[in-house]
Symmetry: C2
Subunit: 211 residues, 2 copies
């Protein structure tokens, strides 16, 4: 099967659809229309129809989608049912929190272990192992890990990034508020909580342009 | 002073500038030019110059900006030196992690307390109090809290949101992957970790359009 290319904007909407579909009561109708979903989520009718057509071929003119099938189709499309192994570098508070957050499992992410220059403990509250950074390379190769999460302080982020890449990591989820320099074939997804927070505060003050 | 309106894109760049400026060694030159910063961060020269002019009037043609002044100007612009009080609803793993994450203090956010329907403990590891949801209204009014953070499961997010608004909260930082329905004057900033994660995985597969 050829992979369908999607936009980031659509990717942002899909988890919302999934969440909505799963939140419906057990005794709700087995069918659901794009219009009903659009109304419930405050989105355009046509947009939702197009999105759903992209991920599922089960839509019918009169009856809409079979709800259970649509849930499965969206989950399959998003690879939520396939496990992706990751490791995390920087097992401080945020790092341990992410390691302990069981919400990620529903999205197919499995954080195998955390690594730190100076680990303060050997495992998280939830029992995930925390190793010294010296064990990183060996671990990544043995477990064929391709995703690395960076939760070190900003001043060490580039160094952590370079180490991950040297260990064969191809995709980096970066929580340090710093621009990482990487080769073209390496993927970086920046997660900047400070930016979100500041955007919210600036909106409160009326200082942010609506875009 | 009239407030300057900024774009979200610029807001995303400012923390990066700050981080870069602070990461320079103690013995670095007291002056820094927009060009040096642009080169270091992989951004356009003109763009950085425009951004800096927006937040600081200390730039000089030949010498550039005085580094310490620029740091202070950016921090002031972003209100990092002013404390914003917030409360959090849903004191599970992610909630407690955010409460315990001291990184937010540098950005001026102070999470006063967490609230939960069924608290499993009375405080976080870092000593922040966790109260029953029954105490929410009283606490918000007494402390004049305007920012609420939602870390409840998706199925309870709308309910949590309605409660926060009833307690006088004006801005919501939502970590539940669900679209919240709010009145127009209420601000919502969505933080969807699942979307970032899925974007990363889809890029790894080559399934995401570059935009």
């Amino acid at each position: 099967m050829q992979l369908k290319k999607v936009s980031k904007a659509m990717l942002r909407r899909l988890p919302g659809y999934l969440d909505y579909l799963k939140s419906l009561p057990e005794n709700a109708s087995a069918n659901i229309s794009a219009r009903t979903m659009a109304d419930a989520l405050g989105l355009g009718d046509v947009l939702v129809r197009k999105d759903l057509a992209m991920v599922s071929d089960g839509g019918r003119c009169k009856t809409g989608h079979l709800r259970e099938t649509l849930i499965k189709d969206i989950e399959d499309f998003l690879d939520y049912n396939k496990r992706a192994d990751a490791i995390l570098i920087g097992a401080g508070k945020l790092g341990q929190a992410l390691m302990g957050y069981d919400g990620f499992e529903g999205y197919g992410l499995n954080i195998l272990a955390g690594f730190d220059i100076a680990p303060t403990c050997t495992q998280t509250d939830s029992g995930k192992p925390i190793y010294s950074i010296d064990a990183l390379e060996d671990f990544c190769h043995k477990n064929d890990v391709r995703i690395g999460i960076i939760t070190v302080p900003s001043s060490h982020a580039q160094q952590a990034c370079d180490m991950l890449i040297a260990c064969g990591i191809k995709a980096i989820w970066n929580f340090a508020p710093v621009h990482l320099r990487v080769a073209k074939h390496i993927l970086v997804q920046n997660e900047n909580l400070a930016v979100s927070l500041t955007a919210l505060r600036m909106q409160l003050k009326g200082q942010l342009n609506d875009e």
